[in-house]
């Protein structure tokens, strides 16, 4: 019987600075067999350990269509994530997973995809975005609406430009506080609705970001005619074990770690009102 609590060592191959407090790590499992067999779906997460600091659930931002390595985008806010930021290329982290359910992918084929992200909410969506681009012919148009507090805080700045250049793909950016040279939109992510046509026709929406953003985006999507079952949200909760035992991430009778983290808005509405913030 496999002991789910045991993590496996992985070496940090590259570190990309996204902003003053956010980095993307590229890692490879030390064990070659594990490297080859580790399979995951977009939206899933792993538990990352920094020995001595502890363990934190971090969503996988790389796409399952690009094999052999894993990427995680980490904002330094807590004990473990701050410890992750102290690591250098060549250092070891310990991983276990993948855990949780995933964003719909097969079901989304032949449809238009709308991604709405805020701040550090883009990394979990990036996994499904790149998987869709790697299977470009299977999907209709792909729209990415992304907002951050300031231009410096946008993640994957170079990749956003690459996505923009892909046929039938549109990337719209916005920031709350513009800095010098910012020519894009100013305002919260829902202000982008004025800049493009958001149609629910044959479309599926993926949302991730801070709770307050999710709340307003859901409202906007419903106003635009999206049905609750065509809206998918990745819900964040404080987690410890990742396998439905420690109890920290429970919402009603569900665990964000095993029943989620991805829920359709239809499912979210079934959760008790007082236990959900959106």
């Amino acid at each position: 019987m496999k002991n789910e609590y045991i993590p496996y060592p992985a070496i940090i191959e590259a570190i990309q600075t996204e902003s003053f407090d956010t980095r993307t790590l590229k890692v490879r499992f030390k064990d070659k067999r594990l490297r080859d067999s580790f399979d995951y779906k977009p939206g899933q997460f792993v538990e990352i350990s920094v020995l001595g600091a502890g363990e934190a659930p971090i969503s996988i931002t790389s796409s399952p269509s690009r094999k052999g390595f894993l990427e995680f985008t980490v904002r330094a806010v807590g004990k473990v994530t701050k410890a992750i930021h102290k690591l250098k290329v060549g250092d070891t982290v310990y991983l276990r997973g993948p855990y949780g359910n995933s964003f719909p992918f097969e079901e989304a084929k032949n449809r238009n995809l709308l991604f709405v992200a805020g701040g550090i909410g883009l990394p979990p969506l990036r996994s499904v975005i790149n998987m869709a681009f790697d299977n470009r012919d299977d999907f209709g148009n792909i729209k990415i609406l992304y907002g951050a507090k300031a231009p410096d805080e946008l993640c994957f700045k170079e990749e956003l430009k690459i996505w923009q250049g892909i046929p039938q793909a549109e990337v719209l950016l916005t920031v709350d506080k513009p800095a010098n040279g910012w020519k894009g939109n100013i305002g919260v992510v829902t202000t982008l609705w004025k800049k493009t046509e958001i149609s629910p026709k044959d479309a599926i929406a993926y949302v991730c970001g801070p709770p307050i953003m999710i709340k307003f985006v859901l409202q906007k999507l419903l106003e635009s005619g999206f049905k609750p079952d065509n809206i998918y949200v990745s819900l964040e909760r404080y987690m410890k074990c990742g396998i439905g035992k420690c109890g920290h991430c429970n919402i009603g009778d569900k665990f964000a770690c095993i029943d989620g983290p991805v829920f359709s808005f239809g499912q979210i509405k079934e959760l008790p009102d007082k236990e959900r913030e959106i």
């Binding site: 002991n3 806010v77 909760r237 035992k245 420690c246 009778d253």
Partner: protein, 344 residues
């Protein structure tokens, strides 16, 4: 059901003999007169056996820590090598109350479902349980196992159950494991007659009747299924609750935990320890955002989890009616009082 008899005076002899093969856990009188569920030390078994009590005594702490210790190490990493913690022993739980056994079975199912929890489950391997329930409730204002349908006696799903019929115990055998145990130690057991079985029936009926506190579980579940109890009830509870976590620590089915690392010399050790939803930090995220920041939300979480979410997921209530949450509570809150309030 197969039955046998054992003289009360033979119980200690049986335990002494069985202790060669088993780690025995039994209710022991400790200093100050309290009764705790303890492991009988093999090196000093005689003294410990003298302190084993099978009277209808209140046992303030359930035996959940035998399988889910308050603090345990999960693994150790030293010089890049991971060493898993493995704890296994043959355990004989002797003199456990029926509702506590139901609590153990409830937790077994939880740790088995979806992802298996090796640490908990390895401790449950080779476990034999001998139930000895109360004939009268040790705390009339707290005990409500009849309402929770977890006792005082079980009809099925047990290994061995003792019924006090005076000079002797009627020994009911409920599983193959239980039968094997009786056969192995058969020199301590005698055949029983129909009259003794009948006597045990009367004793059981009397025991059931002796419990005065009646709590309407099914009505509570119905209420929660339809409309949640009004916020005002939880707010009233939250005003009194001091969020000490006492009720959770003594609850046979509360199993939430925290995970943390510690460094000891060259090694890094990962531990887990009991944690609880009534603590503010339980759901607080690193960003500071906390979905259950307000006290009343944490109060409602505990009651709704035990009574409604557990029922919805498993078909069983997470409350076994032991009454410990009430007796441990510094401000006299507890599951029975909560149900009484919402069903009044």
């Amino acid at each position: 059901m197969k039955s046998a008899l054992i003289n009360k005076s033979d119980i200690r002899l049986l335990l002494k003999e069985a202790s060669r093969e088993w780690n025995i856990y039994a209710p022991l009188e400790v200093q100050g007169g309290d009764v705790n569920f303890c492991c009988l030390p093999k090196e000093n078994i005689k003294e410990a056996l003298n302190r084993v009590t099978l009277d209808d005594k209140w046992i303030p702490v359930p035996p959940k820590d035998l399988f889910f210790p308050q603090l345990e190490s999960l693994f150790e990493i030293k010089k890049n090598k991971i060493e898993e913690t493995v704890e296994y022993s043959k355990k004989l739980l002797f003199g456990i109350k029926a509702y506590d056994y139901q609590g153990i079975l409830f937790s077994d199912e939880f740790f088995k479902r979806t992802f298996q929890d090796n640490y908990y489950l390895s401790r449950t391997k080779d476990r034999l349980v001998i139930i000895k329930s109360c004939l009268t409730p040790p705390r009339q204002n707290a005990c409500f196992c009849t309402s929770a349908k977890t006792g005082p006696f079980l009809d099925k799903d047990f290994d061995i159950q003792l019924v006090d019929i005076g000079e002797a115990y009627l020994v009911e055998i409920g599983s193959k494991r239980g039968e094997d145990f009786i056969l192995k130690y058969k020199r301590f057991f005698k055949l029983c007659s129909n009259s003794e079985v009948d006597k045990a029936l009367t004793v059981k009926e009397k025991a059931v009747d002796s419990i005065e506190l009646k709590i309407d579980f099914s009505r509570a579940v119905e209420l929660m299924k339809g409309k949640e109890p009004p916020e005002e009830i939880y707010k009233k509870i939250a005003q009194r609750c001091i969020h000490c976590g006492g009720c959770i620590y003594v609850c046979p089915t509360c199993t939430c935990f925290n995970v943390f690392d510690d460094k000891e010399n060259e090694a890094m050790i990962r531990y887990r320890n009991w944690d609880t939803c009534v603590f503010e930090g339980f759901t607080r995220e690193a960003s500071g955002f906390n979905p259950r920041e307000t006290k009343w939300l944490r109060a409602s979480r505990r009651y709704e989890h035990k009574l409604w979410y557990d029922y919805k997921t498993t078909g069983k209530s997470g409350c076994v009616g032991c009454g410990r949450c009430l007796t441990s509570c510094p401000v006299e809150l507890g599951m029975s009082k909560f149900i009484q309030e919402i069903t009044a």
